[in-house]
């Protein structure tokens, strides 16, 4: 843009200062309104979790608790200490950890290798192979639930953490492949060629050259897979029950179980516990979270 148009533009900016001011007030008002809408449920969850049941019945969604009552958190996490029917999240939290760590690792590793082959060892028809794999991102899992349930039974790993690791590792591959393929495409092939001339082989190039420069995409992929697997309910609810259930299934069971009086404070504490790990990841690494979301988010 030339200097004269720039000056013209600045004049224009000055003239509309008052309109701008009004507009900005309106802008901030709407933005604040939406901020309230988005924060409101989290606020309600937090304050409810710290109230006693009496306070819940007497007050309303917005009222603050008289004091921080952490009992409902203790009950949500560790139960009441009586035997049968006492469901609490601690064991299921660990179930989810035991599921999410290996499944994230396997799917990320396989995706990295696949993306590497598809971009740096190209062959005839490789883009078809990519499309073939990519389609797995989009399928509604209902179309594979029945045969998967039988397969897990045949393999003897139905209703186990191992079974869920297996399922999540496989159905993560299309996504992880997508991430790594798109990242490796932008890495100059000269780098690989030079290494090959120096005598480096397939795996040496992968581990010594590509992996060290893959940190950003590894972070994106790990966060994506972690969030997806941690938050999964369909596979968890279909392929596991009882003691082998992941945390989302346990949370749902806890909230739905209608033994005696409904304890909303315990429900809310449980919900926050179940959402805590992914929220932390989001707060600490939001940039990578969003990058994953916008580049591969076709999964529901």
């Amino acid at each position: 843009m030339s200097a004269s148009t720039n000056i013209q533009y600045q004049k224009l900016e000055k003239r509309s200062r008052i309109t701008n001011l009004l507009l900005r007030w309106f802008l901030y008002f709407v933005l604040a309104l939406f901020a309230f809408y988005f924060i409101f449920p989290m606020y309600v969850m937090l304050v409810t979790s710290f109230k006693t049941m009496d306070e819940i019945r007497q007050g309303n969604l917005l009222t603050l608790p008289g004091q921080l009552n952490i009992e409902s958190w203790a009950v949500a996490w560790g139960g009441r200490g009586y035997g049968a029917g006492d469901t609490y999240l601690r064991p299921y939290f660990w179930n989810s950890i035991k599921m999410v760590v290996p499944a994230t690792f396997f799917s990320t590793f396989i995706g990295a290798l696949t993306g590497y082959v598809l971009t740096k060892w190209r062959f005839k028809g490789d883009s078809w192979v990519f499309l073939f794999l990519l389609f797995g991102c989009f399928i509604p899992y209902q179309a594979i639930l029945l045969p998967m349930a039988r397969t897990l039974g045949v393999l003897g790993i139905s209703n186990s953490i191992l079974g869920l690791v297996f399922v999540h590792s496989i159905y993560g591959i299309p996504f992880t492949t997508l991430f790594f393929r798109n990242y490796y495409v932008s890495i100059p092939n000269e780098l690989i060629k030079a290494a090959r001339i120096d005598g480096a082989g397939f795996f040496k190039i992968f581990f010594k050259i590509l992996i060290p420069i893959s940190a950003p995409i590894i972070v994106v992929t790990v966060i994506w897979q972690f969030t997806q697997i941690w938050n999964d309910f369909l596979f968890g609810a279909t392929f596991s029950f009882g003691k082998a259930a992941p945390i989302q299934v346990a949370l749902n069971n806890m909230v739905l179980s209608s033994t005696s009086v409904k304890e909303y404070n315990v429900d809310m504490a449980s919900a926050i516990i179940a959402g805590f790990p992914t929220l932390i990841v989001y707060v600490l690494a939001g940039k990578y979270f969003i990058r994953g979301l916008t580049s591969g988010a076709v999964k529901g």
């Binding site: 843009m1 933005l31 901020a35 209902q142 916008t294």
Partner: protein, 291 residues
């Protein structure tokens, strides 16, 4: 031998992924497709039975309700998410103070599971102690809000929670789209006398066509697959008034033991998704080839 191995190593490394996806995605879909043409009950039977399950499916009241609900939900979810997403993106694009904080607030629901979201909203929408009590305490004494237990209105509670969860995501997509457009275009239009409104309405929004398309595909996809949110919020109730196809499928398979019928419903879902996804993949691929 070693030479062959070395030459084909990349393909050998690729083989497990391709094999797994062939079997567990394509093979399994074919299996479900086949079973949908059999009269399978608790266990799969393999003799063909024709299109009986599909005929039965489209004559099942619960399935028709599920499809109806899916249509209502999809339209509202889509329109509201896109409107909120576009408005927030445009507003955030005006050199707003604390943009980072606001963005973080708008998007954090995406980090939560639908079960957590459903649990929270179930409590907020609670017919006695929730929103209703809040308004009564504020002085609106006759305020009632019973959508969660109202057959006619319960489906809209799922829309409310779904929009809360996903509209921030649409905002993120549009904000990224707006940021990728050159400032010069906007400045030039302003010099020509275009108001800010015109700039957005006539220039920027039309330029966002690909983003609209992507949002459309993703949101429709989310809505066809909606399962967790309904389980957590209404469990398909009251009665069967908020059943959706994904819920119908699992209930028919695992509670009613009607494997054939459930396979037919799964295939209907698959076809609905394919109808949206295949044109999308095709256009994406073409765009990639052009650039």
């Amino acid at each position: 031998m070693l030479k062959w191995l070395e030459k084909n190593l990349p393909k050998i490394v690729l083989a497990p992924s391709v094999g797994l996806i062939s079997w567990f995605v394509y093979g399994f879909i074919l299996w479900t497709f086949y079973i949908s043409f059999t009269n399978s009950k608790i266990l799969p039977k393999y003799e063909l039975w024709g299109v009986g399950q599909y005929v039965k499916l489209w004559g099942t009241r619960k399935w028709l309700i599920a499809v109806d609900n899916l249509l209502i939900f999809t339209v509202l979810f889509l329109v509201i998410c896109i409107v909120i997403g576009v408005v927030l993106a445009i507003f955030l694009d005006q050199k707003i103070r604390a943009e980072g904080v606001l963005r973080t607030i708008y998007l954090y629901p995406m980090a939560l599971s639908f079960i957590v979201t459903g649990t929270a909203w179930k409590w907020i929408l609670n017919p006695t102690l929730g929103i209703e009590k809040l308004f009564v305490d504020m002085g609106f004494e006759n305020f009632t809000f019973d959508w969660l237990v109202n057959r006619e209105m319960a489906i809209y509670t799922i829309v409310i929670a779904g929009v809360w969860q996903s509209s921030g995501f649409v905002m993120a997509l549009f904000l990224a789209g707006l940021r990728s457009i050159e400032d010069e275009i906007v400045k030039a239009a302003k010099i020509d006398g275009a108001s800010l409104f015109t700039v957005y309405w006539k220039i920027l929004i039309p330029m966002m066509r690909p983003v609209f398309f992507t949002s459309f595909v993703i949101l429709v996809h989310i809505s066809i697959k909606s399962y967790d949110l309904i389980v957590a919020l209404t469990q398909g109730g009251p009665g069967i008034s908020t059943t959706m196809p994904a819920l119908f499928m699992t209930q028919t398979a695992f509670h009613k033991s009607q494997v054939g019928l459930s396979a037919a419903s799964a295939m209907m879902m698959f076809m609905a998704v394919a109808a949206v996804i295949i044109p999308y993949l095709y256009s994406e691929l073409r765009r990639e080839n052009v650039s």
